[in-house]
Symmetry: C2
Subunit: 206 residues, 2 copies
């Protein structure tokens, strides 16, 4: 059997979708990995360069953007955050699937640069459940909760740009992770990813 590259899996989801729990279930599997992101923010105590992040100066980060070396990037609170292409390609070349958790705009950009990416929007089962989850946390101000809910209305208008939508029901993050594993398994069987089926069928002996 020839060696196969892993798949680039982009997951977006609004606040309260339970992304964190679902992705931490997936990442237990050795076939799924994160890549180390790059950032211009200062390292926090204990953070190690090349492990937690690649810590870059603003100039170095911008130079990488200009050279097309970032798969995706965003600016947040005055700092850049992004995924170096080289990091991503190393994970994929190792045969592991690369999980990227990015917001809607970034996800659409990745799909443009890397059309083979599999894009998944993770959603709570309904807006009512999302609202209940955000209020249930009890950790955020009413203002912040309303801002997050308003943001979701915008995010969902982009669902048509995604390949899949997966609903994360209460207490069923393991089922949700299983949905994502099924998507990956199916995508691996997609004819458009197979190259020369007839050639390898007639040419190769197992």
């Amino acid at each position: 059997m020839e060696h196969k590259n892993g798949l680039l899996i982009v997951v977006s989801g609004p606040a309260g979708s339970g992304k964190g729990t679902v992705l931490s279930d997936l990442i237990k599997d050795k076939n799924y990995r994160y890549s180390v992101s790059a950032t211009t923010r200062a390292p926090r105590p204990g953070e190690v360069d090349g492990v937690n992040y690649h810590f870059l100066t603003r100039e170095a980060f911008e130079a990488r953007i200009e050279k097309g070396e970032m798969l995706e990037w965003t600016e947040y609170c005055g700092n850049y955050y992004g995924t170096p292409k080289k990091e991503a390609e190393e994970v994929l070349a190792s045969g592991c699937n690369l999980l990227l958790e990015i917001e809607v705009e970034g996800a659409c950009n990745v799909k443009k640069v890397y059309p083979q990416a599999v894009t998944i929007m993770l959603l709570p089962p309904s807006f009512a459940v999302q609202e209940a989850r955000l209020r249930g946390r009890g950790t955020e101000s009413e203002e912040k909760i309303l801002a997050r809910l308003a943001q979701t209305k915008n995010e969902i208008t982009h669902v048509g740009d995604y390949d899949y939508v997966v609903y994360n029901h209460d207490g069923m993050a393991d089922k949700t992770a299983e949905d994502i594993r099924a998507i990956v398994r199916a995508e691996e069987c997609a004819v458009r990813r197979q190259g020369d089926v007839a050639g390898s069928y007639f040419g190769s002996a197992e």
Copy 2:
């Protein structure tokens, strides 16, 4: 949750692909069903009309073709065989997935009539393995084996018209059936099958 139609799953595979074993594994699951085919051949002893087949006269079968009431049909050894649309639609409306095992030409026709169909080509891991399986059966003449192998060369040229290709390795029919279940689970999450995601998200309380 709104009621969802099942998926129409079309499986084609050359002789020696192990279709029978794989499909009989899938059909154990109550969410997968076959439909009752129609045929013009005479009932064999014990066969019941409407259970084993819908037994039709040649005239009745041809009238159904003309009225567009057959989802797919073929002529084999002087008899018609086909899938009545009504049968298929009843299975799908019940929420079950409908398995259709048909050859390449029929599969491409179904996809034209019913673009939502999921088409899967099931293959042995290689031509060498396929040949070994056919010879290993010891039930067919050399001439027939060569004819089947020649037919495979033609069939595989159509793989690009299928959505998925699944390899059925020796002794791993359960893993192969699992691949097909993953494909179905993924297709159920495909955004293009979801209708109005935003509408149901904001409108429905769970």
